[in-house]
Amino acid sequence: MGVRMIPQGTNLYAFLEGEIDHHSAVFLRTSIDEALVQSCPRELVLDFSGVTFMDSSGIGLIMGRYRAASAQDCRVRVMNVKERDLRLMKMSGLEKIVEFGVCV
């Protein structure tokens, strides 16, 4: 599991890769939050195209980043979530707080 953090203009992209569970989420959270503080973006884009598995820890990860980003006036967008994981995300009412981009 890993994440590549790429700042671009006023956006900060997080390309997530591999499996998201409670174990990997600890590392992902730290990496994203550090980059968030460093680059102070207008929008944090979480790209899920490389995610091969996620459980509810993935939802917790998004909710936590939403809180961290909001604290510095930054929006959150979630991109390229697989149909199945989108079903999981919708159980949480996540679509009410973050914007969903193209989903596959």
């Binding site: 569970d21 174990h23 600890v26 598995f53 459980d55 509810s56 917790g60 936590g64 999981l88 949480s92």
Partner: protein, 144 residues
């Protein structure tokens, strides 16, 4: 030998690094039923939720053991038992409600909701101070 019956039992340390191992091992055992990709990931997700709960809630990230039993009956039914001897749950109905969590941070409170919606049956038995057993049942229709 009972026809269509097969059983797996394993005990693992309650360490977060074992979360991926547990779901992969149960998935590999279930693979003999020729499940669809969807069925397999439903089971892996449910196992991941139950195992994580043992680690973060039952043992609060301290040492402990997780006991996993998988039973296949009639060649299509799977029953997965995940047991801990941790802190237990005082109000099970409340714990099962969507978004309910006793931990702050990044817990979403959706573990039980996910187990319930990805499987056919979810049973929870628990005694405060003694531990919790979660039983998940799912029929595998497979690719046939």
């Amino acid at each position: 030998m009972k026809k269509g019956y097969n059983e797996l039992k394993m005990t693992v340390d309650a360490k977060s690094v074992n979360e991926s191992f547990c779901r992969a091992a149960v998935g590999a055992f279930i693979a003999q039923l020729d499940p669809t990709v969807e069925e397999l990931s439903d089971i892996k997700t449910a196992v991941s939720e139950a195992v994580t709960n043992c680690i973060v809630h039952a043992y609060a990230e301290q040492d402990g053991k997780i006991y996993i039993q998988v039973r296949i009956t009639d060649g299509v039914y799977t029953e997965i038992k995940i047991r801990d001897t941790g802190c237990g749950i005082s109000d099970i109905a409340k714990a099962r409600q969507p978004l309910f969590t006793t931990l702050g941070g990044d817990r979403s409170g959706l573990g039980f909701t996910v187990m319930e919606s990805f499987c056919d049956v979810l049973r929870v038995r628990s005694k405060p101070g003694q531990g919790t057993t979660v039983v998940i049942e799912k029929r595998i229709f497979g690719k046939r």
